[in-house]
């Protein structure tokens, strides 16, 4: 059950969706500049679910192993952002990002780098934009490249508060011309969620003014 304190009102959902949209637009724009090709983004899907379910929601989308760039953020609200690629896709992304000028070996050497930097650009653009919208500062960790399953990426610990609720955010993206696909997933724990709710309300008040 979602505690009443963190249930998002419809307007708050709208606001959050909008903010995420902006962040992701920015990220998509950045990715486009890096690759030079059209990037498609889906409408963000936002759900409040258990951590275990969040992990499952990821694994539901993929059967194979995943490669991801992970960045944790903290500040008024904290959480984890992931840029996830199915493993079979990631090299294509590297090739795209390194500009097709490198040899095959160089591409393999650069894989880790390229993924890290891409993740850096995308996640940072997204999170930073969101922070700006909410008029707060977040500090981000240095992005890490990880490989594993959905569960491991979200580090669902069987003993610990696997029942803890999280905000699960999910955006599909695809670069058709290069057959690149992946998604951005974000989780935020409940205390953070409460703060986020406040910030959203502030945002709404700011923007909507008397029309709220």
């Amino acid at each position: 059950m979602i505690p009443d304190s963190v249930a998002l009102a419809e307007l708050e959902r709208d606001a959050l969706t909008e903010i995420v949209n902006i962040g992701v637009s920015r990220a998509a724009s950045s990715l486009r500049k890096m690759i030079g090709d059209q990037v498609l983004l889906s409408v963000p899907s936002i759900e409040v679910v258990s951590q275990r379910r969040a992990a499952r929601l990821i694994s539901e989308r993929e059967v194979s192993d995943l490669v991801a760039v992970r960045q944790d953020f903290s500040g008024p609200f904290s959480g984890r952002a992931l840029l996830i690629f199915p493993e079979t896709n990631s090299l294509e992304l590297v090739r795209a990002v390194t500009g097709d000028e490198l040899s095959a070996e160089e591409v393999l050497e650069m894989e880790h780098e390229a993924l890290a930097e891409t993740g850096n650009v995308i996640l940072n653009s997204c999170l930073a934009t969101m922070a700006n919208m909410l008029k707060r500062s977040l500090s981000m960790t240095i992005p890490e490249v990880l490989r594993g399953t959905g569960a491991s990426l979200f580090e669902v610990d069987e003993d610990s508060a696997a029942e803890g609720l999280v905000l699960f955010l999910y955006i599909d993206f695809a670069v058709r011309s290069r057959d690149i696909r992946g998604y951005i997933a974000m989780i935020m724990d409940i205390p953070s969620l409460a703060t986020l709710k406040e910030l959203l309300e502030e945002f709404i008040a700011r923007v909507v003014g008397d029309d709220a």
Binding site: R26, S30, K33, M34, V97, T98, G99, M110, E113, A114, A116, E117, N120, V121, I122, L123, N124, S125, L127, A128, T129, A131, N132, K135, S137, L138, M140, I142
Partner: protein, 127 residues
């Protein structure tokens, strides 16, 4: 006199990307690279760069810290903080130390305003 640009970024790819943008805008300028703040300071002891492009998000010492130190050492050097972290706070802090702000990814378009400004500054005599 050839202009030297110091590129500091822990990501090799980022350094390549910045270098490419630089080469496109100013083909005659040369670059020296460092992959961390510490390494950058080492490099500088040997050679003084004319311009610096510094990534913000680095471990141990972040780009803003390094930029602040460089500002003390080289008060007039054009410095740009390059980062995807476009938070207002970062932008504001960059301004405070007299550094420009270039959002990643560093395309020639993104770098152009800073570089043309830097080129002007370098050509005009020091006051």
């Amino acid at each position: 006199m050839p202009v030297t640009v110091l590129i500091v970024d822990d990501s090799k790819l980022a350094r390549i990307v910045a270098g490419k943008a630089l080469a496109e805008l100013q083909p005659e300028w040369s670059k020296i690279e460092a992959s961390s703040a510490a390494q950058a300071l080492e490099v500088i002891s040997g050679q003084t760069p004319d311009v610096a492009l510094i990534d913000f998000n680095m471990s141990e010492k972040d780009g803003l810290e390094l930029a602040a130190e460089l500002r003390v050492l080289l008060p007039d050097m054009p410095i740009a903080i390059i980062t995807a972290n476009i938070q207002d706070e970062i932008i504001a802090r960059a301004r405070e130390i007299g550094a420009a702000f270039v959002a990643k990814p560093v395309t020639p378009d993104a770098l152009e305003p800073f570089l043309s400004g830097a080129a002007l500054r370098l050509r005009s005599p020091r006051p």
